[in-house]
């Protein structure tokens, strides 16, 4: 990164902001059950696209803000998102070459792990999940991934985020 200026930070910030808003939309029924965590997916995208710029630290910070926004334990999503960013950055070379629909499988694995971590911590503080539905947003994330990927890729190219 020596001497190379990073550009388009505001696009990254905006994408996280929009993802936070999208995740907060109160939905009911099936859509609400499978409604993915868009913030986690946007984080995965930027870790894949700009692994030298967006990584564990950013993931942790975003997770902390999510914790505050959701009224969760401070550090709960921070831990999960840092782990998510770590996994994505470590494997980004293998995943990035795949077409979006095949990337979705890896994304599903990452999101399942993230859900597991978040709910594991919830279980420790006395809110164990009552059934398997807490994993449903990860499946929703897999379905939504190709769409999100195309949108963010086009945004990244258009605004030349490097």
């Amino acid at each position: 990164m020596t001497g190379v200026r990073s550009t388009g930070g505001w696009i990254i910030a905006c994408s996280f902001l929009l993802a936070f808003l999208a995740t907060s939309v109160p939905l009911s029924g099936w859509l609400g059950r499978f409604w993915p965590d868009w913030v986690a997916m946007v984080l995965i995208y930027w870790c894949l696209a700009l692994p030298y710029r967006i990584g564990i630290g950013t993931g942790w910070l975003v997770g902390l803000l999510v914790d505050v926004g959701r009224g969760a334990l401070l550090g709960q999503h921070a831990l999960a998102f840092a782990t998510l960013a770590y996994l994505t950055v470590q494997t980004h070379r293998r995943i990035r070459v795949l077409p979006p629909w095949r990337q979705a499988v890896s994304v599903l694995m990452f999101l399942l792990l993230k859900q597991f971590l978040v709910f594991w911590i919830s279980g420790v503080i006395g809110y164990p999940p009552r059934d398997g539905w807490y994993l449903a947003p990860a499946v929703g994330g897999m379905i939504g991934w190709p769409l999100l990927f195309v949108i963010l890729r086009d945004a990244r190219r258009y605004f030349q985020v490097t």
Partner: protein, 293 residues
């Protein structure tokens, strides 16, 4: 720009970040430390206050689509629909006014009788109206975020109601927002009384918006499906006599000492919009007042 690109590419193609695992370890350790401090000692409330205030505009923004939809449906409703609604409301108001008249006399009588008995007087309570900002994303944790906070005089332990009955209580306050725990949260227990018989028990949350569990009611106790449950005022948090739920299922198991009783909350906890926060109830100031036999 174009000339710079190759150097960037070389930079990250051939460099494996050697400290990534170490970094992860540090961040995870920091998270665990923070969670412990937050959960056990509540020492991070100041930091949370600052962040929550910074995030408030965002949460407000997230609510905008819902608000907009409400505004649109309110402004573009058909004339006939509005007229009908108006007529309905008028009818309801007449009905409620009639009830209110009765209530005024009853309240006066109650006060007179209570003063005769020299017991605590139930003065009217002050009420603060708050709107729902967000719902907890964790489907098993029934916490809601309200748009009133310490600045508006909200404090921890304040009972929250809606038009139908008790919904929960405040567990955390930030400068501009407050978090309430619902009575159906698995970690919430509410002291209640069966209105018909006066039998006292607790209403435990189950994590399901439609279910409350009533433990420790003996098999021979007189509880029927449809019985109204009201707050008993024990514990000093909730004032006495607010409706909580109705008994939905009673199962007597001869093998166990207690009946299995499930109640349904009267408040519609999964579609809350406005919440009434009671100012500290006079009953709460005197939790030791014995209930007359």
């Amino acid at each position: 720009m174009a000339a710079l690109k190759p150097s960037r590419r070389i930079h990250y193609l051939f460099t494996v970040n050697p400290t990534a695992t170490l970094q992860l370890g540090l961040w995870v350790a920091l998270s665990i430390a923070m969670m412990t401090v937050d959960h056990r000692y509540h020492a991070l409330d100041g930091a949370r206050d600052v962040l929550a205030t910074a995030l408030y505009p965002l949460q407000y923004l997230a609510r905008l689509p819902t608000d907009l939809q409400n505004w649109l449906s309110a402004n573009f409703a058909g004339r006939a629909v509005l007229l009908e609604e108006n007529a309905q409301l008028r009818e309801k108001q007449v009905f409620l006014n009639a009830q209110l008249q009765k209530l005024t006399t009853l309240e006066a009588e109650n006060r007179r009788l209570r003063s005769l008995l020299e017991s605590a007087v139930n003065t009217p309570e002050r009420v603060l109206i708050a709107e729902l900002l967000a719902v907890d994303f964790d489907p098993y944790r029934h916490h809601i975020l309200l748009n009133r906070g310490r600045q508006h005089g909200v404090h921890v332990g304040q009972p929250a109601l809606d038009q139908q009955g008790v919904i929960g209580q405040i567990v955390r306050t930030d400068p501009l927002t407050a978090t309430a725990i619902l009575i159906t949260d698995p970690n919430h227990a509410l002291p209640i009384q069966v209105n018909r018989t006066g039998a006292r028990t607790l209403a435990l949350g189950t994590g399901n918006f439609q279910e409350l569990e009533l433990p420790h009611i003996p098999n021979n106790e007189d509880v029927k499906v449809g019985d109204l449950l009201v707050t008993s005022g024990m514990g000093g948090r909730f004032p006495r006599g607010y409706p909580v739920g109705t008994v939905a299922k009673v199962e007597f198991d001869p093998g166990s000492p207690f009946a299995h009783i499930v109640a349904k909350p009267v408040a519609q906890l999964d579609r809350i919009r406005e919440v009434l926060l009671l100012e500290n109830a006079p009953d709460a100031a005197q939790p030791a007042t014995p209930t007359p036999p």
